[in-house]
């Protein structure tokens, strides 16, 4: 099931990681670091100005076992949401 924009926008993340201004692989590394600090089932939200972050975080989530929820475009950056899977 695909999460819709409205559903995604209604999710309150347990942790927000502001990686705006960082180039690849910065946001990915920040996401990996941040994920280690929340319990399984929690949602983290990565803010990134790098347009590839949303697809990269999706690939990373699929590989390591997290649930990629999607991304929401904000003012000049993307909010990328992921639920910790393990």
């Amino acid at each position: 099931m695909t999460t819709t924009f409205v559903e995604l926008d209604a999710i309150t993340a347990d942790k927000v990681i502001d990686a705006r201004g960082a180039a690849c692989p910065g946001p990915l590394l920040e996401a990996k670091k941040g994920m280690g600090s929340v319990p399984v089932g929690s949602v983290i939200e990565i803010w990134s100005t790098d347009p590839v972050t949303k697809t990269d975080i999706g690939a990373w989530s699929a590989k390591v076992g997290h649930e990629f929820l999607g991304s929401v475009a904000a003012d000049g950056y993307d909010r990328v949401l992921v639920r910790r899977g393990k």
């Binding site: 692989p25 990915l28 590394l29 590989k63 390591v64």
Partner: protein, 135 residues
């Protein structure tokens, strides 16, 4: 270690060190064990007394009309990327003992990011069954 990534890092210019660090950090974040062997100019770049220096750009940058790093070569965050990779994942960085001999210094002159000296057979044994990149 079929999921592992092994890399021979030979080059010591900032751009190549950063390209290598990006791949290493990405693989580490994705849960793959990474095994890096430093040779020659990469080894020299990891010397504790010059690791923070400006390591310049590859010859490609000499081409007339080539692009330039926006913030300058000295600000390319290659070292920070390697540090984060080691912090976040299973990353081993070793010094080729043959290159140490050729360049005339011991492993104790290397930055603490380097785990120690390593022989080629040990590196290749660890790399067996996985990919090896040469940069």
């Amino acid at each position: 270690m079929t999921d592992g990534l092994s890399m021979v890092l030979f080059s010591g210019t900032t751009d190549k060190l950063h390209a290598a660090a990006t791949i290493v950090a990405g693989a580490a974040a994705m849960g793959r064990p990474v095994n890096v062997l430093l040779q020659y100019w990469a080894l020299d770049a990891f010397r504790a007394d010059r690791i923070d220096s400006d390591h310049g750009l590859a010859f490609d940058a000499m081409t007339p009309g080539s692009s330039r790093p926006v913030a300058g070569a000295a600000d390319i965050p290659w070292l920070e990327t390697f540090r984060m990779a080691k912090e976040l994942g299973d990353v081993t960085i070793q010094a080729c003992s043959g290159s140490l001999e050729t360049l005339g210094f011991k492993a104790d002159r290397l930055d603490a990011l380097v785990d120690g000296p390593c022989g080629i057979a040990t590196f290749l044994s660890a790399a067996e069954g996985g990919q090896i990149l040469f940069i």
